[in-house]
């Protein structure tokens, strides 16, 4: 699906993708930020391709396919995905009552909803906790993204001090530094 050539919002794109996955058994949907060639007609935007938006759509797409999220859960009210934080973190911030999760006890499907812990880490955590209790250092060893995961987890030797922190504050702390605005096409 082409992103940014017309005014279609992320909600439409993701719901389309979801119905393609569910109704038609498609394996992958690809998103491509619209990139005009010189002297394109005025009906298309003459702007730099919205690469970050494309990236967020891919992140959301992976959450649909692999992690069991529904498109409705990821979108919220606005109809577009947030650009400053990834969709998984956005979901976690909007659903603080689910967290913090105990890494030693939680269901694998729930573990996969912790920001900064991916499907592969979940497999590895489950394998590890069969042998022994999981400690905070193990998550470092597994190269989980702890900056993101920290407020949302409990291990046998760690409880988040930030658990009480309001979502708005956490979001301000965790947002990605925005890249300098790309130069628009033709100045």
């Amino acid at each position: 699906m082409i992103v940014g050539a017309d005014s279609t919002d992320d909600s439409t794109l993701l719901r389309n993708a979801e119905s393609l996955y569910q109704g038609y058994g498609l394996k992958r949907v690809y998103y491509s930020a619209f990139s005009p060639i010189p002297d394109s007609p005025g009906s298309v935007p003459l702007a730099a391709p919205p690469l970050l938006r494309e990236h967020r759509l891919y992140q959301a797409d992976f959450l649909l396919r692999g992690y069991g999220y529904k498109a409705g859960e990821l979108l919220g009210q606005s109809g577009n995905l947030a650009l400053d934080i990834d969709p998984k973190l956005a979901w976690a911030l909007a659903n603080r009552e689910v967290f913090p999760l105990d890494v030693n006890r939680a269901e694998p499907a729930l573990l996969a909803r912790i920001p900064g812990i991916g499907l592969r880490s979940v497999q590895r955590l489950v394998a590890l906790r069969r042998e022994r209790r999981v400690r905070y250092d193990d998550l470092i060893q597994l190269r989980c993204v702890l900056e993101k995961a920290r407020p949302f987890i409990v291990t046998s030797d760690y409880r988040p001090a930030q658990a009480e922190l309001r979502s708005g504050l956490l979001r301000a702390r965790l947002r990605e530094p925005q890249a300098p605005v790309q130069m628009g096409l033709w100045g």
Partner: protein
């Protein structure tokens, strides 16, 4: 200290490790020689005779993981494997899991090895030999590749599946492999003529491919970090488009990024396609 040499072969290492394990010899007491520089402290001692009293049971998955990790070229290549084997054989299964300090290194090596196999499949560019030479050498396609790990033998079957009965050969700085349409011929030391054929082969399609690459390159979408992540610079030397990449990147940085797709493409008149008649 026991100093061993397994000649870079997993099968040899496995036999040695089995004997060591049977006699209960601790990993700190063994070292495997690697390359010409030997461990100065290691006094070569003979391997104990016989299988030894300790019967170790390890999961089958461990053996295949060790075999994969053995293809990794790096320090403590064989010592690390024995350390993992020792811990798992003595009941500590976490040694093969990524959550453990040692297991994490093991898993990292396996990942690197698999990634290098992917690189082989992605960046080997076969060059067709001219007909006369092909008949003379019984070879249709040749390629030169420099993998960072010893993956050539295990990862090359992919090409036999893809190329059917074509006869091909891949030469590297270390080993080489040749397929005659039916069977593989793997050489641990790549024969010098193979290397010569592969390096001197001239690709008749290279110019066409470079033209295609230049025109499909979209400066507005350039992401140098992702580019290098997926196609490390060390492979560029052996790719026909390798010389173009830095050049196109430079142009993109100097303002072409603003133009969207290449001007050459935009300035073409294109082709009129008549509407289908009903």
């Amino acid at each position: 200290m026991i100093a061993l040499d397994c000649d870079g072969l997993f099968a040899t290492w496995r036999d040695q490790a089995r004997v060591l394990l049977g006699h209960g010899i601790d990993p700190s007491q063994v070292t495997w020689l690697q390359g010409p520089v030997a461990d100065l402290l290691a006094v070569p001692t003979a391997l104990p005779e016989g299988a030894g009293p300790f019967r170790a049971k390890v999961p089958a998955a461990l053996l295949s993981q060790l075999e994969q990790a053995a293809r990794y070229r790096g320090e403590h290549r064989w010592n690390l494997l024995y350390e993992v084997l020792w811990r798992v054989a003595h009941g500590d299964r976490t040694a093969m899991l990524a959550g453990d300090r040692l297991g994490s290194e093991l898993q990292r090596r396996i990942k690197q090895v698999n990634r290098e196999a992917h690189h082989l499949h992605a960046f080997v560019r076969f060059v067709p030999l001219p007909e006369v030479l092909a008949e003379q050498l019984h070879l249709d396609l040749v390629a030169y590749h420099e993998p960072a790990h010893d993956i050539l033998e295990s990862a090359s079957a992919h090409f036999a599946d893809r190329l059917g009965r074509l006869r091909w050969m891949i030469a590297t700085a270390h080993d080489g492999i040749r397929f005659d349409g039916q069977a593989f011929d793997y050489q641990r030391q790549c024969p010098e003529p193979w290397r010569q054929w592969a390096r001197n082969a001239e690709d008749p399609g290279a110019e066409l491919w470079r033209t295609y690459y230049r025109h499909t390159f979209n400066p507005a979408r350039l992401n140098p970090d992702a580019l290098r992540l997926h196609m490390p610079g060390r492979f560029w030397r052996h790719l026909p488009e390798g010389m173009l990449i830095p050049q196109l990147e430079g142009q993109a940085r100097q303002g072409k990024q603003r133009d969207g797709q290449a001007l050459e493409v935009a300035s073409r008149a294109g082709k009129q396609i008549s509407k289908p008649m009903r």
